[in-house]
């Protein structure tokens, strides 16, 4: 600590300058290459379409996608479909987190309950959730509820297991400390387990947001008249590949955006803890 302080007070040495330059150059190189790959891909795609190396009926092209996207925005369908998918994803995400936090707390609180429920959780977690989707449709009909439940079903069991495992790993001696200070198991949860699990909760959320989106799209494939999942399925059925590809690209941006939001939340937490 002292050494760092004295170093920062002095003039930056030549060796340090070289090091900083090298670091910056590397950083720039990475950024440029990332952009270059995207540009190259788009150019190649567009050129192959224009030169008729590929059939735009099946493969579309960047300009066709762009035109279609602008049309979607102008007629407002972009906002409806994207909005509904985003809404369903966020509600699923929220419910996944609430449910899994409650259930994993209960499992941690009572060893007996967790032992009893373990095999059920394992089965439900390893079951391919898309197999449940038709069942949910029959039970709940084709509406937003079904899609939200589909979104929840994909992530919630894994999330419960993940949180419960994390809670269990808390230092037993810290729990003893709480007992020596006169606390109950519940106090131990609020004072030790929960605060020490914030990083776990955040990383678990990052997994959940991706899975919620997967579940919502599966739901929309099967039981929706609106949303990006519906557009993808509908577009492929009527051979409107522009629609399919545009929807997929919008999905890419949604996934990236949602993940980025959580990344920011994590950074904020690390800074302010």
């Amino acid at each position: 600590m002292n050494m760092e302080q004295t170093a920062s007070k002095q003039e930056i040495s030549d060796a340090q300058k070289v090091f900083l330059q090298k670091h910056q150059r590397h950083h720039h190189f990475v950024t440029i290459m990332r952009i270059l790959i995207l540009v190259l891909f788009l150019v190649l795609w567009e050129v192959s379409a224009r030169m008729q190396w590929i059939d735009t009926f099946f493969f579309s092209s960047p300009s066709l996608v762009a035109t279609f996207f602008i049309e979607m925005v102008l007629e407002g369908s972009f906002f409806i479909h994207t909005g509904i998918t985003l809404f369903e994803t966020l509600i699923s995400f929220l419910l996944i987190n609430v449910i899994s936090l409650l259930v994993s707390t209960l499992l941690w609180y009572s060893k007996t309950i967790s032992e009893i429920l373990e095999p059920y959780l394992v089965v439900l977690n390893s079951l391919p959730k898309s197999a449940l989707a038709p069942l949910i449709i029959v039970w709940l009909g084709t509406g937003t509820d079904t899609i939200i439940v589909a979104g929840i079903s994909v992530a919630v069991f894994g999330s419960i297991i993940n949180l419960y495992t994390g809670f269990k790993q808390a230092d037993a001696e810290k729990l003893k400390l709480i007992t020596t200070l006169g606390g109950t198991r519940f106090t131990a949860f609020t004072k030790v387990i929960l605060p020490s699990s914030v990083p776990l909760l955040l990383s678990n959320m990052k997994v959940n947001i991706g899975l919620a989106l997967v579940g919502v799209i599966i739901g929309e494939f099967l039981a929706a008249r609106r949303g990006l999942g519906y557009l993808i399925i509908y577009g492929s059925q009527v051979f409107q590949l522009n629609m399919v590809i545009t929807s997929i690209i919008i999905l890419c941006f949604i996934a990236m955006g949602l993940y980025q939001c959580l990344q920011w939340a994590e950074h904020w937490y690390l800074k302010h803890k």
Binding site: D171, E173, K174, I178, T179, L181, G182, K191, P195, S196
Partner: protein, 257 residues
């Protein structure tokens, strides 16, 4: 003068698991008098910490009894091996954990915390996180957290064993002085024989598992000066050390080396 604060009579305790039971303590009887500093030493794994858990009431003895002379008025403070400060809380918040749990945060307890922080030389660090403190300071913070309960009986479970040797010498002498000046009855579990001699009025030696009390030694040292290491320089120190060493090495036997 000798007014017992705690009495253990024929205490037995075993740990159970599916492969069998492990008897940890058999027929332990002793008493702790008010204001006394008693150390418990014994071969490793003999059940020293188990004894403290029983006294603290975290476990119940299988047979025999442990009773406090004046249970309403004898708050027990328990200090664990590691400091276990919660790293997401500041030192002050860590110290206030006890009152927070017992929902007794009030101007009085806040004042007590500040006084203790000041007495133990930690007031400059009260808003720091545990990670920013040295091992010795963290241990002192852990002691303050225990002291916030205003204990009449203090249980120390190898509280210095996580520290390096030099810090350990300093902190044990330092904490020993603090406890003595506060006149709190203390039971210290340790595997460090010289620490036991330097700090205690009386030493209980446990045998190997299942532990019984093998011997009890009253310690009285002539202190040459009032330095931190005075006790270790006392003329009787070596004498006590060789007694303890003999008793304990007997327990290990020759084949275990």
């Amino acid at each position: 003068m000798k007014e017992p604060i705690l009495q253990c009579q024929n205490v037995c305790f075993s740990y159970h698991n599916l492969t069998g039971e492990t008897s940890a303590l058999t027929n332990i009887s002793f008493q702790i008098n008010k204001g006394e500093f008693v150390s418990v030493v014994g071969p490793s794994g003999c059940g020293k910490s188990t004894l403290l858990s029983l006294i603290a009431g975290l476990n119940k003895p299988e047979s025999g009894s442990i009773f406090l002379t004046n249970p309403e008025n004898t708050k027990i403070g328990y200090m664990l091996q590691q400091d276990h400060l919660l790293e997401w809380r500041t030192i002050y918040k860590n110290i206030m954990l006890g009152p927070e749990i017992s929902k007794t945060i009030n101007p009085e307890s806040e004042k007590q915390a500040l006084t203790l922080l000041n007495d133990y030389g930690l007031s400059r660090f009260q808003d720091k996180k545990p990670g920013e403190l040295s091992g010795g300071m963290k241990q002192r913070a852990a002691l303050i957290r225990t002291m916030m309960l205003s204990p009449k009986l203090l249980l120390l479970d190898e509280p210095f064993s996580a520290l390096d040797y030099q810090t350990r010498l300093m902190v044990s002498a330092d904490i020993g002085r603090i406890i003595r000046s506060a006149g709190i009855t203390t039971v210290l579990v340790t595997h460090d024989l010289s620490e036991a001699i330097a700090l205690s009025d009386r030493i209980l030696i446990l045998s190997k598992r299942p532990a019984t009390i093998k011997k009890e030694i009253a310690v009285s040292l002539t202190l040459p000066d009032d330095s931190l290491l005075a006790a270790r320089n006392a003329p009787e120190f070596q004498y006590y050390f060789s007694i303890l060493w003999k008793e304990i090495s007997d327990e290990y036997g020759t084949d275990s080396l």
